[in-house]
Amino acid sequence: MWFKKGSAALGDFEQLVLFGVLRLGEDAYGAAIRQEIHQRSGRDVSINAVYTTLDRLENKGLLRSWIGEPTAQRGGRRRKFYALRPSGVTALRQAYHTLRSMADGLEGRLETK
């Protein structure tokens, strides 16, 4: 499929989710990713949006997932964990580079410094 060629352009929210997964490492599951995005970007997104995006990224082959054990603080429900596949890392790197190179030399005008 077309995205397997590595030409996938990631959406804005997809990037946030992938960064969240990367940042959380072994502990990347829905609620944790949601909180990570909330804390770092200030965007209070809904859990369904996170899972919809995770599911889509998994279908694109950028993520893999596994299911954990049930825990009591979850009412005896299981967690679904996600991790980046190599293609996911590539896609994220590309997105990051794209942003970087587009923003290069503009820091002053964007008043980010």
Binding site: Y29, G30, A31, R34, Q35, S46, I47, N48, A49, Y51, T52, D55, N59, E69, P70, T71, A72, Q73, R74, G75, R77, R78, R79, K80
Partner: protein, 896 residues
């Protein structure tokens, strides 16, 4: 299992309702993760603030419910076998798609069944769509004029004693101008008259109908010309009126649609008229003569013509002011009429006025017929529904094992119901699509035929409203035919069905199906009874004694142009010569002429007997006045009862009909008496030379009018319909007769060549149209009902073959078996007939106004229909009965 991290628990549970909502909405494969995450975070937040945590949880839950994560590919396999295993709580729309796919696949497995059902539904929906599109065009769509709901026509209401049965009458010029001056509730009113012209172009003469339009005529209708302009006010005066506006049709026919036609001239009655405008195609509404003519010229009345009050021969169209109701307008016109009666008692005594919406006038007569037809075709669809319902029912029962297994595996009854209903809807949708196509084909092929039967047929089309109707009809059909079988199938007793093992032979749901049969039969009775009385109306009308013999009679109209035939002598010489030549043609027995043929209406005038005073118009007796040539009565087959026919040597002679003789002279002998027709001349006395038989001058169903026939020397009769009785089929004489006219005057057109039978038939078109369609619908209903009875009985017989076998083995005779099956079939049929007769009696009221010579409750028709249907039901039962009698007990019992 990892030990529960108690520290993170707040001891507070998340909101229950929100959790339940989530559980209902989320796909099972997501439920754990999403709900777990939410609960986890809820507990974490509840430590800080329980209320805030609850608010947060609710917010998240609502967003999840609004847009849950998608189902995963594995479960979206669409595997048909999986269909009933799915979560019974799956949202309707999501399961709908897969139900639909499954339905199509199942139906494709039995294409003959699917085709049969689709064909029946296509017929039903197609017929409904076709009739509805006629209703839509004729009754629902506004006329193609600007704000057409405010367009009205004004008429006189004649004195009822002098004009029995007439509700409206043409308007006299002087009265019109007084109306116009006095009325306040009308934006404008315009007078117009039909006016024939002889048009000459390239040395060729043609008769053409034009409208003489008074001032404001085009402004009132409000349609802009396609080219040029409409008339200016000052052109409606004598001497200024030599301008002409063309219809779209005439423009294309005569000028090939040339855009530079404005400014050219037309020769009308030998005088030049300058073309100033061309009206667009949509301006032509066939059912309204004022717009469907070829040409318009200014009316251009002289002061003298405007002052004529006694001669009622003009038409009036008007536009109401916004917000004015018809009732208000009528009241105002009545008020004005009373004033005019007082001012001009001699001419206006007894003459009222009324206002009728243009739309009403154009479609009024056909409305009831169309409503009846729509109701009838709706019944056909109901019957089709019952039939298809029956088929689906049989099918659902044949599949009840499959359904039972699904139920046993956890499919909710609602899911089974939905699946079967979707199947019915899929069939109905296919039937609807095909039906729409069918309606299109029928309408486009039948357009020419329809044009004679209904107004505005040329506008017929399938628009959005018709499409929506077809869609609605399909959905209703699908639900009606699918709901009962689907409900019934959902009720299947699991244990019983599964216990039956491989057997599939006991008759289940027989009661429901009997009910469907009875309903079908009842509806058929209603339709057949309706068609029956309509056909009897037609027969009754056709057998009305019109007073003449229409067989072997050819008619044709010849209108001489005024320019060349400006004296009575010239016209009379032409017609006398033409008739004597026609009489000499081989095959022609006799020939004569009349100004207006029977049944087509004509002049109605007051008549004054010699020696009696002329009364007020209200009290003066009126008669139909026709101008005839000698031999007209012989050619038409109207008997001369007393005295003699008029002859060429007469000067001012008159024949009176039997009814006129009775009306005017009671028991005296009218022959030799003299009368005047004041509208023509108060001076000329006409002598009655004989009495002739009565003739229907108007509708066949109408009363017989008193008529007089004059042979006049003093009036210039330029338009005459020649009538010839032939010894050979009349149409074979047509060419020779027309050639006679042409040989006398190459420029003289001959119009309306048709046999008298055709003339009579054309007056019956609307009745024939309704009767024909009703008969077709009834025939379809009959076929559907008999197929229904047959299929149900066959099914019952198959289901009871074991019982029948046992009975035969125990000594039942063939006769007993046959009788049993026939009674089985006839019971619901007879119940249906009884219910149908009651329904037909109730529905008869709708038809009453369309009937003539027969009651809507005509016992003969009802008996015939009931008996006929009983016979059909019997016939439909015979094959299954015969099959039952051939059941071999050995084979059946061995099947145990």
């Amino acid at each position: 299992m990892t030990p529960p991290a108690r520290s993170a628990r707040s001891g507070e549970a998340p909101p229950g309702l929100a959790t339940r909502l989530l559980g209902w909405r989320l796909a099972p494969e997501w439920r754990d993760f999403v709900m777990g995450d939410l609960e986890e975070e809820f507990h974490a937040r509840a430590i800080v603030s329980r209320a805030a945590a609850r608010r947060w949880y609710w917010r998240q839950a609502v967003r999840c419910v609004a847009a849950p994560p998608p189902r995963q590919a594995l479960v979206q396999s669409g595997d048909p076998a999986d269909i009933f295993h799915r979560s019974p709580r799956g949202p309707f729309m999501r399961t709908l798609a897969s139900d639909l796919r499954y339905a199509v696949r199942v139906l494709l497995r039995t294409p003959s069944f699917a085709l049969a059902v689709i064909a029946v539904l296509a017929l039903g929906i197609g017929a409904n769509t076709a009739i509805f599109s006629i209703v839509n065009t004729v009754l629902l769509r506004p006329l193609p004029f600007q704000q057409s709901e405010r367009l009205v026509r004004l008429f006189h209401v004649p004195p009822p004693d002098a004009f029995p049965g007439m509700k409206t009458f043409s308007v006299s010029a002087a009265n019109f101008y007084d109306w116009k001056a006095g009325a306040r509730l009308f934006e404008a009113m315009a007078i117009y008259r039909f006016r024939p012209f002889v048009i000459t172009s390239n040395g060729h003469a043609d008769e053409i109908m034009a409208v003489g339009a008074g001032a404001d005529f085009f402004e009132i209708i409000g349609t802009q010309p396609a080219l040029g302009r409409t008339f200016q006010r000052e052109e409606d005066s004598p001497g200024r009126g030599h301008v002409v506006i063309l219809s779209d049709g005439f423009w294309k026919r005569q000028f090939g649609g040339a855009p530079d036609v404005i400014g050219r001239t037309l020769q009308l009655d030998g005088e030049p008229y300058t073309i100033v405008g061309v009206m667009p195609r949509r301006f032509t509404v066939k059912a309204w003569g004022a717009t469907s003519t070829d040409l318009w010229v200014p009316l251009a009345y002289t002061e003298q013509q405007r002052a004529v009050r006694e001669n009622h021969n003009a038409q009036v169209v008007a536009r109401l002011k916004p917000g004015v109701t018809i009732e208000q307008a009528i009241a105002e016109m009545q008020q004005i009429s009373r004033t005019l009666e007082a001012e001009h008692p001699k001419e206006n005594a007894g003459w009222g006025a009324t206002v009728i919406p243009l739309q009403e006038l154009i479609v009024g007569d056909i409305r009831l017929s169309l409503v009846v037809l729509l109701a009838a075709v709706g019944l056909v669809l109901l019957i089709a529904c019952a039939n298809v319902g029956n088929l689906l029912f049989a099918r659902a029962l044949a599949r009840r094992k499959e359904i039972a297994i699904r139920s046993a595996l956890g499919a909710a009854r609602s899911r089974v119901f939905q699946q079967l209903l979707v199947e019915a809807l899929a069939l109905a949708a296919a039937g609807g699509a095909l039906g729409l196509l069918l309606a299109r084909v029928v309408l486009s092929t039948g357009r020419a035929l329809l044009a004679q039967q209904i107004p505005r047929a040329d506008e017929l089309s399938i628009d959005t409203r018709v499409m929506l109707f077809a869609l609605a009809a399909s959905i209703v059909t699908g639900v009606l035919s699918g709901a009962l079988p689907a409900l019934r199938a959902g009720r299947t007793d699991l244990n019983e069905t599964l216990k039956e093992g491989g057997r599939n032979d006991s008759a289940v749901g027989v009661r429901t199906r009997r009910l469907l049969i009875a309903g079908e039969v009842a509806l058929s009775v209603v339709l057949l009874a309706g068609a029956g009385v309509m056909l009897r109306t037609l027969v009754a009308l056709r057998s009305v004694d019109a007073g003449f013999d229409p067989h072997n009679v050819l008619t044709m109209r010849v209108s001489l142009p005024e320019k060349r035939y400006d004296t009575p002598q010239k016209s009379r010489a032409f017609f006398e010569a033409a008739l004597s030549r026609i009489r000499a043609l081989p095959g022609v027995v006799s020939a004569g002429g009349v100004d207006d043929l029977p049944m087509l209406g004509g002049s109605v005038q007051p008549i004054v007997l010699e020696g009696r005073p002329e009364l007020l118009p209200r009290d003066q007796p009126t008669v139909e006045v026709r101008k005839v040539s000698p031999d007209y009565f012989k050619a038409m087959g109207i008997p001369v009862i007393r005295g003699r026919d008029v002859s060429d040597s007469d000067t001012e002679a008159m024949l009176v009909s039997r009814a006129a003789a009775k009306l005017l002279w009671k028991d005296e002998d009218p022959v030799g008496k003299r009368v005047t027709l004041p509208l023509e001349s108060r001076m000329v006395l006409k002598q009655v030379v004989g009495i002739v038989g009565d003739v229907k001058q108007g509708e066949l169903s109408g009363p017989t009018q008193a008529s007089v026939y004059e042979l006049t020397r003093s009036e210039n009769v330029r338009s005459l319909t020649l009538v010839m009785r032939t010894a050979v089929p009349p149409s074979t004489v047509a060419k020779a007769a027309a050639d006679v006219i042409r040989s006398m005057d190459a420029d003289q057109p001959v119009e309306d060549i048709r046999t008298m039978n055709e003339v009579v038939d054309e007056t019956l078109t609307s009745q024939r149209f309704s009767a024909l369609l009703l008969a077709v619908f009834a025939a379809v209903a009959l076929v559907l009902a008999s197929v229904g009875i047959y299929s149900v009985l066959s099914y019952i017989v198959r289901g009871r073959s074991r019982e029948i076998g046992i009975r035969s083995a125990l000594g039942a005779r063939t006769v007993d078996v046959v009788r049993m099956v026939i009674i089985e079939g006839m019971t619901p049929a007879v119940a249906g007939i009884a219910a149908g007769v009651v329904a037909a009696l109730l529905a008869g009221r709708l038809l009453e106004k369309l009937l003539f010579g027969v009651s809507a409750h005509d016992p003969f028709t009802l008996f015939a229909v009931a008996g006929g249907l009983a016979l059909v039901a019997l016939a439909a039962s015979i094959v299954p009965a015969w099959r039952a009698s051939r059941v071999d007990p050995l084979i059946v019992l061995r099947g145990e």
